[in-house]
């Protein structure tokens, strides 16, 4: 697994946020920027490095603004990782909606499916399996893609993914399973060429 397994809750971090919001927030960013950025990069179809950075930063800024309004008990009850990823996915969907309304904003020309850049076959030929796999993931339908990324790229437990997606665990498992099956199928096809 690529990510260290952080617990769903993080009492020390939440206590730091209550104690001094800005100091605690610096810790929150340090602890979760890698997972937030990874999900932004791998879930937001067509989102490239710089856009993923903007998206992740926007997510943290929204989180900060929410935290300013939360009282002590509400902060202490947070599950920071699931909470941040929920904000991230909402931010991304809002950006997509905004992009279709106002064509000139950043992240405007995101294709609905299929990643830009070299095709999968070309990447296989060049031996770039990491980019190839990323391109295949980007081609998954949204629910499957998000579920697979949260489960296998950043290693969240199924229950936490279900909370982020707002769907039952069974549905979550089925999204993961279908996504993986589709990846295997395409992966085999590309490698066989």
């Amino acid at each position: 697994m690529g990510m260290p397994d952080r617990s769903e809750t993080d009492p020390a971090l939440l206590a730091a946020l209550v104690d001094d919001l800005d100091t605690g927030f610096a810790e929150l960013v340090r602890a979760y920027q890698r997972v937030v950025y990874s999900v932004a990069l791998r879930c937001g179809t067509g989102v490239t490095g710089a856009d993923a950075e903007d998206l992740a930063a926007e997510c943290f800024l929204r989180a900060y603004r929410a935290l300013r309004e939360y009282d002590r008990d509400r902060i202490l009850a947070l599950k920071p990782r699931a909470w941040l990823l929920t904000i991230l996915l909402n931010t991304w969907r809002n950006a997509l909606r905004g992009a279709s309304r106002r064509p000139s904003v950043p992240m405007a020309d995101l294709p609905e499916r299929s990643a830009p850049g070299p095709g999968v076959a070309e990447l296989v030929e060049r031996g770039e399996t990491r980019d190839e796999l990323a391109a295949l993931v980007a081609e998954l339908p949204e629910h499957q893609r998000t579920a697979v990324v949260l489960r296998h790229v950043v290693g969240l437990p199924v229950a936490e993914i279900a909370a982020v997606l707002g769907v039952p665990e069974g549905t979550t498992r089925s999204h993961i399973s279908r996504g993986l099956a589709r990846l295997r199928e395409h992966y085999a096809k590309e490698v066989a060429r």
Binding site: E53, Y64, H152
Partner: protein
Amino acid sequence: MTGDYLDDPLSIELGNLVATPPRDLAGALFGDWTRVDGPLGELYVAFTDLGVSYIRTVESVEDDDKQFEQRYHDLFQRPLRRTSAAPVGLQKALRGQGARDVPVDLRVLTPFERDVLTATREIPTGQTRPYAWVARAIGRPKAVRAVGTALGNNPVPLLIPCHRVTRSDGQLGQYVFGAELKERLLRAEDTNVDEVLTLAKSRFVYVGYDGVVCYPTCTRARNAKDPKGFRSVAAAEIAGYTPCDICTPAG
């Protein structure tokens, strides 16, 4: 049933898709603040990765870090942290050199407010322009009051010299840190304040000499011998004067 085995080769390869942000995201989120020496005493300064975003005099926040932070938070809704290094060029700019080259972060403002401040930044040291001049410079000649409001909300006074914008009747007018400080700043920049105020007593806000009509603070006007006062550019034009192409007097 789920195909959900984390030691499966595909799963391991998916795990390799984790990515580290190209730079620490805290840099894009946090404002940094420090204290620096200004032309008339110490200043609190906050800045982001884009530029200087907030300047307050020490007096205006009662020399209290917490009060400065509180005001920053209310205005910007961003986290803030203390630093010891001021942005490059800021100290020099506050001593009067290269103020226009120091990047500013005006994202918190409306496009109108940004236009007002951008035009104001063009007013040279030692000179003043009336609110109406700024209004005309941004193509909104009737928005004189709104210009005054925008300047009153200037988050980066001194760096963007809103103290150089004065009332159209020649009086110095209000300032975000008080009228008294405005006058002291103008005098510290060697603006000919006494001359301006003397002219204003006779309701003269323009001066003409040698066939050209200027604002009284224009370098050209200040070198003139025995300039003649005018109450409007129109009156000066009737008397045969042409508007100065350096200070571009309006109204």
